[in-house]
């Protein structure tokens, strides 16, 4: 049966780590996403059927939180804060420029070559550094359009 791209042993280990506890569904999904960079469909079905919770419920949790993604993410992940402070400090311009650079649109957040995923987040809690971005888990504050583009050039180099 195992034609799936997902290695169920890996997920089984994650489930065991959380003692197969259905109430730990969010940390379980976080760990699975860390492993696969997204939540593969078969992984969610395996989790649901192993924990005896309806697949619709796991799907509901996975689609409710914007942190989770059901599509594979890019090799690099850039999060641009669009909370009130960052928004006022023109984070919108950065988002627009990045989307243009990597040919992205409303719901299309990952570039075709899988190089990068551009995400907007609501508030990173670092309003004093507005506008803020997080590039591959590294926080960069007081951003300008030029600074962001320089970071992208370095990334692509």
């Amino acid at each position: 049966m195992s034609e799936s791209v997902v290695d169920f042993d890996v997920i089984a280990k994650i489930l065991q780590k959380h003692k197969n506890d259905p109430s730990k569904i969010i940390p379980i999904l976080q760990d699975v996403q860390k492993e696969f960079r997204y939540l593969p469909k078969d992984a969610l079905l395996y989790i649901a059927t192993t924990l005896n919770i309806p697949p619709s419920k796991v799907y509901g949790v996975a689609t409710f939180f914007s942190h989770f993604t059901l599509e594979p993410k890019g090799k690099n992940i850039i999060k641009i804060c669009d909370g009130t402070a960052c928004h006022v400090k023109k984070s919108g311009d950065i988002i627009k420029a990045l989307k243009k650079r990597f040919l992205l649109k409303d719901k299309k957040v990952t570039s075709d070559d899988g190089f990068i995923t551009v995400e907007t987040v609501s508030c990173l809690g670092a309003c004093g550094l507005a506008p803020v971005i997080v590039l591959n888990d590294e926080v960069h504050g007081d951003m300008t359009l030029d600074k962001v583009m320089k970071l992208m050039d370095d990334l692509e180099a």
């Binding site: 078969d42 079905l45 309806p54 619709s56 799907y59 509901g60």
Partner: protein, 585 residues
């Protein structure tokens, strides 16, 4: 809180003093004062959602509150129809309608739609907000049709599916303005673990979830002069079909149904109670033979296709416990298609069998390959009570004032044992009426009732003694109750010899294909109608049915014979969810 303690507690609503008697919210207390609080998401049998905000009232000292979510407290003073409350309800309706399809003319729920009714009651003649255009595809499953554009996100279907049925094949997906009621990965409903019970369609306040319609297919056969069209009507239909025509729930209209079907052009009209009697002959014989030969216990009934689907998906380890008997629908259709062509001198391909059922799951059951012969289904189409009512209306038949017509022969006779199949506990009782005749001191002829297995309780049990041996019987209705019972059986907490299971709470009388009712006591009334109809029958035991006796004599030899096994029994599949979704290691 004990009842005594609450005895002197009251609240006042619109100057009416109402006692508090253990209600979970002020909404239920207010309704006792005969003031109707409108709701879209509230259902007294489900947990509280508090999402629609239609039930807002003014509570002195606290201002506006959702009455579904506030527990009653002694001395509360409530106003349920102030200018502000009425204004809020109208705004809520306008907002919901702005998000709704609004094509009432072509919607199958029109005239029985809760949303439409409220819009009318509250005089909504103008919607100030721009309609949100959505174009979601309609998912037409074998049993259930989902039209997401009509969904108002009340969540009643989700709570019904998970709380009462413990299936949970639909849930909320996404969030905020993107929120939708979805299956996992938005798959078609038929590709999920849905058991087809249709209870979601019973609670849906709009046309977002409905019985899948096969009316056109039935008309096609009726319009074809080369076809002999036979129809069988299930026991529970007679106790509810009158409701769309002004009869009270539980008013039995058997003979009017026959007249209506004859007027529509059906060639033969038979009673599925005959199929139920046949089921008892086979199932009770199977039980007796398991006792004699040491078979698997508890033996569990298999007449409910929603339950059979549930067992195959969630309790595959009970495969051997399930009776091998087909459902009454499938037994009867098999008999008609096997022996009908000879009887009436026609080809099998020109014989079409339609069933009228209180049930949506029967639509999926009849489509199973194991109930087809060379691709030709034994039951050509199964329609619900709702669809039957629709057909009567299409024909302009004045159902209320119809004359009576008896069923056709040779399968026209029935017994009360077949009739009570429509109620939870009925199959167990009918089986007992058969089995107890094997006792050295069989009960007296007039003493046919086994009241311990009757009633609306989710899990019922009883004990009998047969030739000195004790047998324990359990009856469950509603699949969450079923899950509880079977888990207790598996854990060894309880021990039973015979278990009857019906997927819908109360049994078929509350099936997913029955008309939706505004009467809050409709289940009890329909149940009373069924047991009254049992008393009205001449015979009360399946084994006394003369047409059944003749059927065995002419064709089937004896209950449990080789021929009977071939025509009336079946086998089950292991459809556990890991296998179904292809995620086995």
């Amino acid at each position: 809180m004990s009842e005594n303690k609450q005895e002197n507690f009251f609240l006042t609503v619109d100057n009416i003093k109402v006692p508090i008697e253990g209600e979970r919210n002020i909404l239920e207390v207010i309704r006792k004062a005969k003031i109707e609080i409108p709701t879209l998401c509230y259902n007294s049998e489900l947990s509280i959602h508090g999402g629609c905000r239609m039930c807002m009232v003014e509570l002195e000292g606290r201002g506006l509150v959702a009455s579904c979510s506030v527990p009653p407290v002694d001395g509360m003073v409530i106003r349920s129809n102030t200018k502000e409350v009425r204004g809020i309800r109208k705004t809520v309706l306008e907002l919901v309608l702005a998000n709704h399809h609004q094509n009432c003319y072509t919607c199958g729920k029109s005239t029985v739609c809760n949303l439409q009714q409220l819009a009318k009651d509250y005089g909504i003649n103008n919607i100030r907000f721009k309609r949100r255009e959505k174009e979601s595809p309609i998912d037409v499953g074998l049993c259930i049709t989902r039209d997401p554009d009509k969904c108002i996100l009340c969540g009643q279907c989700i709570r019904m599916c998970s709380e009462i049925q413990s299936v949970g094949c639909i849930g909320f997906g996404f969030r905020s303005s993107d929120a939708e009621v979805l299956t996992a990965f938005n798959k078609n409903i038929d590709e999920t673990e849905c058991v087809g019970c249709g209870q979601c369609t019973q609670v849906c306040p709009t046309g977002a979830l409905m019985n899948t319609s096969n009316i056109k297919d039935v008309w096609q056969y009726l319009n074809d002069p080369t076809k002999t069209v036979v129809v069988q009507i299930a026991p529970a239909v007679r106790t509810a079909i009158g409701e769309p025509f002004g009869f009270a729930p539980g008013e039995v209209t058997t003979d009017k149904m026959v007249t209506a079907l004859k007027a529509m052009g059906f060639d033969y009209v038979f009673d599925t109670c005959f199929g139920a009697d046949l089921t008892i002959m086979e199932e009770a014989t199977e039980f007796v033979s398991r006792v004699k030969n040491g078979g698997t216990f508890p033996m569990v009934t298999s007449c409910c296709p929603g339950w059979v689907n549930f067992a195959e998906s969630f309790y595959p380890d009970f495969e051997k416990n399930l009776s091998s008997c087909r459902s009454p629908q499938e037994m009867f259709s098999s008999v008609i298609k096997s022996y009908g062509p000879k009887m009436w001198g026609i080809n099998r391909k020109d014989l079409k069998v339609i069933s009228i059922m209180p049930c949506t799951a029967k639509k999926e059951e009849k489509d199973k390959d194991k109930f087809k012969i060379e691709g030709d289904p034994n039951t050509d189409f199964s329609i619900t009570t709702q669809e039957f009512a629709q057909m009567i209306k299409e024909c302009g038949i004045d159902f209320r004032n119809l004359a009576d017509t008896p069923f056709d022969h040779p399968f026209g006779e029935k017994t009360g044992a077949g009739v009570i199949f429509g109620s939870s506990g009925g199959v167990a009782e009918a089986a007992l009426r058969f089995i107890m005749d094997f006792d050295e001191n069989p009960p007296a002829e007039h003493d046919f009732a086994f009241k311990a297995v009757r009633g609306m309780e989710g899990i019922k049990s009883a004990g009998i003694e047969l030739n000195g041996q004790k047998f324990n019987i359990a009856v469950a209705s509603g699949l969450a109750n079923t899950r509880k019972l079977l888990n207790d059986v598996k854990a060894g907490k309880v021990s039973y010899d015979f278990i009857e299971i019906m997927a819908c709470s109360g049994g078929c009388l509350n099936g997913g294909g029955q008309p939706t009712s505004k009467d809050r006591d409709y289940k009890l009334k329909r149940m009373a109608g069924i047991y009254k109809n049992d008393v009205d029958q001449k015979l009360h035991k399946s084994q006394q049915n003369p047409d059944i006796i003749k059927l065995y004599k002419d064709y089937l030899e004896s209950p449990g014979s080789h021929e009977a096994h071939h025509k009336l029994h079946t086998h089950y599949e292991d459809k556990n969810l890991k296998k179904k979704y292809g995620v086995e290691k």
